[in-house]
Every structure is written in C-alpha cells, then in structure tokens.
C-alpha cells in the first residue's frame, strides 16, 4: 500500500474514532453524525474536496462567529449545556478544516480537535463503551503521528522549488512503508497502552475534586419514590437494564435462594384508589461519622435469621434510594462517598416510619453509588407469628388501616374469602393464598382509562402483575383490620458466573406487602407468582450479555471507582506478598486498629514520590557519569581546553581548525608552549591514534591555566 493511503486511512479513522467516542454515549447524536458524514466524504475525495466545494474563507469565518455567539449565549443563558455546545462548535471547526485546503499546521489542528472529542466523551459518560474507542484512538494516534512526522521530514528535506512534484511521487511510493515499519509501529501502540496502564494505576489519587463530573441519570425508575402509581412498575418491568449489581461471597451465594431474595426500597401507606403515597414523607438528615462511615438501621433481629454481607453497585437512578436485601441491618460507605456528603454535594436522609433511606442530591448531580451492606433474611418462626395478637399501637392503626372508597363488587368479593379464626397470621396467609389461587400473572393489564383499577383486577380481569397483587393484598388485609402497607423494590436477580455477583434488572422490579405484627414488626407477604418471561427473549445471548456485564462491573470497579483506597489496598497486598518472601512481617503487618484509611493513605504517596526522586537521582548520576566518561577522552580534554580559553576571552570560531585557532591566539599574546603542546597532542590522538596518558593532559591544562593568567597580568591595558 502506498504511503499516502496509509496516511489517509489512519487520519480518517482517527477523526472518526474521536467522533464515535461521543456518538456511543448516546448524546449529541446529531452533530456527531454530521461530523462522521463529513469525515467519510473527505476520506473519499481527499484533496479534491476543496476544489469541488470552493467555499471562501470569509464565509466559514462569518459562520463561525455567528455559531460561537449563539452557542455562547445558549451555554450561559439558555440550555446551560456548556459541554454540548462545546462539542457542536468543535465539530463545526473540524468540518471547516476538512472541507478547506490543508497545510501541515491544519492537520495538527484537526488531530487536536479530534482529541477534544475524546476528552468530551470522558465528561459525558463513564460507561465501559468508552474503553473500545479509547484503545482504538491510542493505536490510530500512534500510527497517524508517526506517519505525519515522516511526511513532514520528507517535505522539509526537499528544496522548496522541488517540493510539489517530488512530494507527490514520494507519497505514492510503496517502498516507504515496509513490513518492518508496520511491526515496529504496532509494537509502539502496544507500548503506549502498557505505559498508560502503568501510569493510570500508579498515579496518586488525591481527594481534591472541586468540580464533580456531571452524569445524567441513565435510568428513570419512578417506582421507587414516595409516590407509586398503579401500573408504573409494570412498565418498568419491560426493560432489562441493570439497576444494580450485588457482589456476594461464594458461601453466601451457596446458602441464599436468589430467586426469592427481596431487595427492599421503600414503603407507602396511603392508597387513593389509584396511587400509593406516604402519609409521613418527612425525613431526617443523617449525620455520618467521617471515620466510621457506618449507618445502622436499628432493625430488629430475630433468632434463626440468616445474616450475610454484600457489596452493592447501584446504577445512577433518577430517584436514588438505598436498597438492601430483606432486613437491612447496616451500611458502610467508602470515604469518597462520605466526602461527598460533607461537601454538601450529596446528603442522606432517613424515614424511620417506612424504614427507607434516600440520597438527596443538592446540586442535581446523580452518581453511581457503591456501598457495603449487612442484611438478615428469613422470618421469625411460625410459633411466634401465630402467637401474635391484634393489639396494634395507635399510629399503626391510624396509617395502616386506611382504605380507599371500594366498589360494592370488591367488598362482596372480599367478604366471600374464608378466613380461619386461629390467628392473625393465619388469616393473612389465607388472604394471600386466595389471591395466589384465583389470580394469574400478566404484565399486559390494559387498565388504561379504567375508573377503578383494583376492582378491574379483582372482579373483571383476574390477571395482573405484582403491583395489583400487592395492592389487593394490602386492601384485603386492611378490610379485615390487619395493618399492612405496600413495598417497592426488586425481587431475585440473575447470578453472573464470571463475576460472582447478582445482576438485578429493572425487569426484577417488584411490589409486595408488609404486614404488621406487634411483637415481630413488619413481616413480608408476597401474593405474586414468579414470572420468568421477561428475560426469556435474550436467553440465546445470555452468556454474551453476562460477559459484557461482568466486564462492565470490572470497568466500574477498577477504572471508574479506582481511588486512593484501592491504590493503598494494592500496595498493601503487594507488601503482604513481599513479606511472605522476605519473612519480614513487621513493616507490612497492620493491626485491626491501624487498617483505617488514614494510615494507609500516606503509604502509596510515599512510594510514589520515592520512585520519582529515585529516578531523578539515577538520571543525574548517569548524566554525570556520561559527562565524566566524555571528559576522559581526548575530545573531552580538548573541550576543557576550549572552555578554559573561552573563559579567558579566546573563543574558537566553528570554521577554524585547532591549529588555526592556536595561531590566532599566539598572534595576539605570543607563543604559549602549553597550548602548542595540547594542540599537538590533540592532533596526535585524533589522527595519529597515539594515546597520551591522563596526567599529561592534566599537567598541560594546568600549565595553560597558569600561562593564561600570567599573560592577563602582563598584557598592557588599552
């Protein structure tokens, strides 16, 4: 392939990759597509394009000024999207450059603009989809810059009057780019990637962040707010987007029934016939201890419950709620999250009435959240539950026995349910079983325009999804004087075998019921049958999707979430490995008490700066050694002679030979035997291959020094 073709391909693909990195975020599709089209046209027509489309420069400049003015106004007074408007303008500039005749300087500007596209994509999204264009960009940049550098070298070596035709001939040559060159440049790309990884993982992270990146919520899950409209969760369940990932230990995975694991969000108590809401939505702000960063939920424990710990990676949600499995006992956060709390960017509030915890973003920024949680699954034993009475506290009776206006058909239906007299628990179970036996599951409810959705479900359709089941159970329980409330969250999830985590999707969104028992507290009841249909269409590509999701999790953990603690942990692990080898555990051993972040924070910084200082010292030593090596050679000695003479006002011109220079000095101040000897020695070593010992050189140089100072003293003053 000709050099020109390589250059065209690499440049065009580089520009394309920059634009693609924005396109893949799903934002600003219009301008990026336009940019890609123009890049494609340019790649096909190349140098002919400006002649086909000869637009004068003043037209481009005028358009640029107008566009800039508009975008400037829009950025600060209009849509306030500085990044988006910046992208628009950069795409315009790049298009103008591509459509106009180009010099080498224009090419550099085009590459710089494509780099700005890549930078912009880092601000828009943090998804794993950035990884591929980034890697491709590095490879293409290596190629493009190398080829561009060669092109400039070729052009500069030709006399200006010969450049035109000779350059064209050279660029069309097939002999410039050989297989060895291809191999070396490919190796170069790999080296760049390797170095990038090393720098990325070793460069210290500092908790400075004054301006946090803006990430728009990618998922709009409205079912987890203080208000849930009947039918909302059904809509959400049609999407298989992952809402959160939960990392568990292999032991926990082995003992937990994932399919029946409930991820609780929040509860609601007031039902108006169509919508659930909270009667007491007020929340209290939580003050977190910056060192401990622990939140205790004060949930009651019961014997026989299974306790387990897990890490939650919550995706950016439109209404972020802390989600935990079953009974959430405790939550622990990483320090960066706590810092966000203290900077006021994020705040955490609790509502003890509904046992829910909410993240409130004061500046309308929404972030992915990571935390460690401890939960308890299971229920109190049957004996205890059957022994419960109906002696409810006043506030429970006030809020959790509320009923909306019910249709006569609904009341009639409810009265027909046969309830045992044994215990409250058995009566609740009987109602649940009634729903389980007589109603079936479907996402396709078709209740739009229906006046009373509950009546539609219970009396007419007899089919519905979890919200209907849960609502029906709550209303039925309340009808019989048993306090109950509606809860929203997720149920189940899919185990990803690659990463040993549970992927909980929007299709796992679920609604169930909590029933109050005076001693046992709120106990879960779920009348909805399990539904396996949502994920079914993708079962063919299940393995592929699981692998991609695993990579996404790793990307979030090791790239996006990589911080000072992660660095410290890597160093600590390295240290422990080292201690096994050296058997010196003293330095690396950490007490339980010392494993706090503050003691570890300083360690990676110390290592980093030690490396920097060490490299700098090594560099200086090598440089000095190299100089000294040079000084020992005859060239080095003669160099010292020239320096000495220069200090005394005798500077050698570049066109003078050594002997000429000596003669010129002698003409001024007379013969200097030491200088004559040094010049002869230089010539003898240089041309005659004769070696003079080091002391001889040093002696003559010393003598020369004395002679020069003598001649200075004796020379007449002007």
């Amino acid at each position: 392939m000709k050099f020109e073709q390589y250059f065209k391909l690499s440049s065009s693909f580089l520009i394309f990759t920059g634009l693609y990195s924005i396109l893949i975020t799903g934002s600003y599709i219009g301008p990026t597509l336009l940019g890609i089209i123009i890049t494609g046209i340019h790649a096909l027509l190349w140098d002919r394009l400006p002649s086909i489309l000869p637009i004068p420069k003043w037209v481009w400049n005028t358009l640029a000024v107008l566009l800039f003015s508009y975008l400037f106004y829009d950025s600060f007074f209009g849509a306030l999207d500085l990044v988006g408007n910046g992208i628009h303008f950069v795409v315009y500039l790049q298009a103008v450059k591509l459509l106009s005749p180009k010099t080498n300087r224009d090419w550099i500007q085009i590459y710089a603009l494509s780099f700005l596209h890549l930078l912009a994509s880092t601000v828009i999204s943090s998804d794993i989809t950035f990884a591929l264009p980034f890697l491709v960009y590095i490879v293409l940049a290596t190629w493009t810059l190398t080829l561009f550098n060669i092109k400039i070298g070729l052009e500069e070596s030709l006399a200006p009057q010969k450049r035109g035709s000779m350059i064209r001939n050279l660029l069309r040559s097939k002999e410039l780019i050989t297989s060895r060159f291809l191999a070396v440049t490919s190796l170069l790309s790999i080296l760049v990637i390797v170095f990038t990884m090393i720098i990325f993982f070793s460069f210290p992270r500092l908790s400075m962040g004054q301006f946090l990146r803006r990430v728009e919520a990618r998922q709009k899950i409205s079912g987890f707010s203080e208000q849930v409209e009947l039918g909302t969760i059904g809509t959400i369940k049609t999407s298989d987007t992952i809402a959160m990932r939960v990392e568990l230990t292999p032991e926990a995975i082995a003992k937990i029934d994932i399919e029946h694991l409930y991820w609780r969000g929040t509860a609601t108590d007031f039902f108006d016939g169509r919508k659930w809401s909270q009667s007491e939505p007020d929340r209290q702000r939580i003050r977190l201890d910056p060192e401990a960063a622990i939140l205790d939920t004060n949930q009651s424990r019961f014997p026989g419950g299974q306790h387990f710990e897990y890490n939650v990676f919550l995706e950016a949600l439109s209404t972020p709620i802390l989600i935990g499995a079953d009974r959430l006992m405790r939550v622990t956060w990483e320090k960066p999250f706590v810092e966000r709390i203290f900077r006021g960017v994020l705040s955490l509030e609790r509502n003890d009435v509904y046992q829910s915890f909410h993240f409130v973003n004061s500046q309308n920024f929404v972030h992915d959240l990571t935390y460690r949680a401890e939960s308890m699954t299971g229920q109190p034993d049957l004996k205890q539950l059957r022994g419960e009475t109906d002696d409810y506290p006043f506030h429970i009776r006030s809020y959790y026995l509320q009923l909306p206006p019910l249709e006569p058909d609904v009341k009639k239906l409810l009265r027909e349910i046969k309830l045992p007299e044994s215990s409250v628990y058995d009566r609740a179970m009987a109602i649940q079983q009634f729903l389980e036996s007589n109603y079936s599951y479907t996402l396709d409810v078709k209740d739009i325009g229906v006046k009373d959705p509950l009546s539609f479900f219970l009396v007419e359709k007899k089919q519905g999804h979890c919200e209907y089941f849960s609502t029906a159970l709550v209303i039925a329980l309340r009808f019989f004087g048993i306090p109950a409330r509606n809860v929203v969250g997720f149920r189940g999830g899919e185990l990803n075998p690659y990463g040993r985590y549970i992927a909980v999707r929007q299709s796992d969104a679920h609604s169930w019921t909590e029933v109050f028992f005076p001693r046992s507290g709120w106990i879960r009841f779920d009348p909805s049958p399990l539904d396996h249909t949502v994920w079914a269409p993708q079962k063919r590509f299940k393995v592929f999707f699981q692998l991609i999701d695993y990579l996404r999790l790793r990307w979030n953990k090791y790239v996006i979430e990589y911080d000072l603690r992660a660095q410290a942990s890597i160093i600590e692990r390295m240290g422990k490995h080292l201690s096994k080898i050296t058997k010196d555990k003293k330095f690396y051993q950490t007490d339980e008490k010392d494993s706090s972040p503050s003691s570890l924070q300083k360690f990676p910084q110390f290592i980093f700066w030690s490396i920097i200082v060490g490299v700098a010292i090594l560099f200086l030593i090598l440089r000095t050694f190299h100089h000294r090596q040079n000084r020992r050679s005859f060239d080095g000695f003669y160099y010292r002679v020239l320096k000495l003479l220069s200090k005394n006002g005798y500077k050698k011109d570049s066109h003078q030979t050594a002997r000429e220079f000596t003669h010129s000095i002698e003409a001024k101040i007379g013969i200097l035997p030491s200088l004559t000897s040094l010049t002869s020695m230089y010539y003898e070593e240089r041309f005659g291959r004769k070696r003079h010992p080091l002391p001889t050189w040093q002696r003559h140089i010393f003598t020369l020094q004395k002679d020069l100072s003598k001649s200075k003293k004796t020379s007449p003053r002007n």
Partner: protein
Amino acid sequence: MKRGNFRIKITRTGYFFIALCLGVGIAGLNTGNNLLYLVFGSMLSFIILSGLLSNNTLTKLTIIPFFPKRVFAKEPVSIHFDLKNQKKFFPSFALTLIPISNGMLDTEKTFVLKVLPQKTILAIGHFCFPTRGLKKLPSYRIQTTYPFGLIRKYLMVDTTEEIIVYPAILSTESIFALNYQYLGEYLSGQKGGSLNPYGIRDFVFGDSFRFVHWKTTAKQGKFKIKEFEHEKRMRVTIDVWLAPQKISDPKLLEKAISVAASLLVHLPTYGFEIDLNLNGKPVDVSGRSYLDSYLSVLALANPPEHHQTIARTTDDHRSIFVVSDLPRTALPQAPSLVISKETLVSIQ
C-alpha cells in the same frame, strides 16, 4: 568525526502537547474523573516514548561523509554519507542530516527514512561553499523527531578535516563573452588532438565524455579517460597579476581569480597545455595533477603586500592570457588576451 552528546529540543507541537497534557492532568486531579486520568496516562506515555525512542534512534549510529576530490566555490557539492546502524535489533527511523557552516543551519537537508540494524546505507547530501580557500568541512547535525514529532533530539557531528575549495568556475559562455573576437579566432583553429592513445587517467571536471574508457570505468567503478599523444598541442601561459592589498577590491579580486581558474579548466578541453604564473612567479606542479596544483594556488591566493613590477613572463612568443584586477594601463600589451579590471567589472 567527533560526536557530541544528545541534545533535546521540544518542538512547537511538543509544547502544545505538553500543555494539553498538563491541563488534562490537572482536570483529572481536580475532578477525580478516572477517565481523564486514563487520557492523561496515555498522553504521558506518548511523551515518555518519544524521549526513549528518539534516544534509541540516535544511539550507535555512525556517520562517515565522503567528499569529492575537487570542490568549487558556489557549486553544489554532493556529499555521500555512509550511515551505519550498529544496533543489534532496533532500526533507526526518520533521520535528518543538516550541514552547519559558520554556526548557521543550511537549508539543504537530507532525510533518511530508515537504517536497519547492522546495516549501512548511503545518503547523499548537498552543500555549497560560498567562497574559495582552505575551509573546514561542515559539521553535521543528525536529528530525529521520531516517532511523534514532539521532541527533536539531535547529535552534533563535528569535523576537524579541511578542504581546499577551488575558485568558482565561470561558464564557457561567460569566458567567451569577455573577449569573443580574440578567443573565438584563437581557439577555433586549435581544437582536436592526436588519436594515438597515450594512457588512461581519472576523469576530472571538464573532461569530455567522448573519451571515457568504458571498460576500465566498469572495472574500477569510477570514470576513466583516455589520454592521447600530443600532436600539435599549443602551450598557453596564464599570467595572473593581483593588485596589492592597499588598492585591492575584494570583489574584483575574486572575479579575477575565477576567470583565471575558469581558463585553467576550460582551455585543456580545446587541447591546450597550460602554465600558470601568479604575480610573476611560475606555479610549481608538485606531484599532483597540474590542474589541482594550479587551482590550489589560486584558491589560496591573496593580494600581495606591495606593488609588483608587471612584465611579460615568457619570451618564447607563447600565447599569454593576462588576468588581473588592475586597470588595463598597468598591464602588458599585446600579443595577449588581457582581462583587466575594466573587463572584470562587466562580469555579473
């Protein structure tokens, strides 16, 4: 040749790149955005690799220049470089050789795309000496901006060798223009030599390609010329008289010397044997070819300190060309072709 140490200069693109890199780094530190750290890491990698690879490119690279035997002032000289890469595994890419004279960079650069490991390549550069005389051969700068054009690393290769640069040669048209009538009549009946072969010698500037001995040329790899017996060779004396230092005009001096040198070079093509006198003294041909001896003397000629007595230098009615930067009135009369100050002034 003496090699200096590597020197580094950051290119304009390099400065811009470093500034951008710092900006991205600060943005990453400020925002805590790990993707910016990733981009910063890649930019830093580019800078580091630029430094390492440019260093590697120039390491263990030897350069040996070869100059032609005769070098004339104001005439481009082709200099052959033997570039050897002594590295075992790594090639050297994108090298530029730049001659340096009087500390200034010359514009004639030689670009070498690659030198493979343990290989030697021949590169050709051009240089032009502006004036005649004993000159130090130009130093060279070998530089590379490989691979990314961010850093320019270069190596000064100095030389202490000297060369005698012969005076600039005027074209035959310029010579004829000086005195067309005389030269035309004089030279028109003198052309041609014997056809009897005399010997074979090296080709020198001015020889006719008609007399190339191709068999020997092919064997030895350089042009060889057939010499023929002298049949009726005319002997010509060129008398060069230079004005004394006090009244010497440097421009006219150079023109006079150039004219004399041009006659030395062109006249033999018409079958003349030449003798040269400088300021009344014959120039001795000592072991070298006579042309080189004469041209060397002219190359190093300086105006005499004192005024010379100008007279004819030969009495054997040999044809004489008198070249001088003195006025016509100061020079001997005919029969001789006289190129005096007044004639020299008309030469551009």
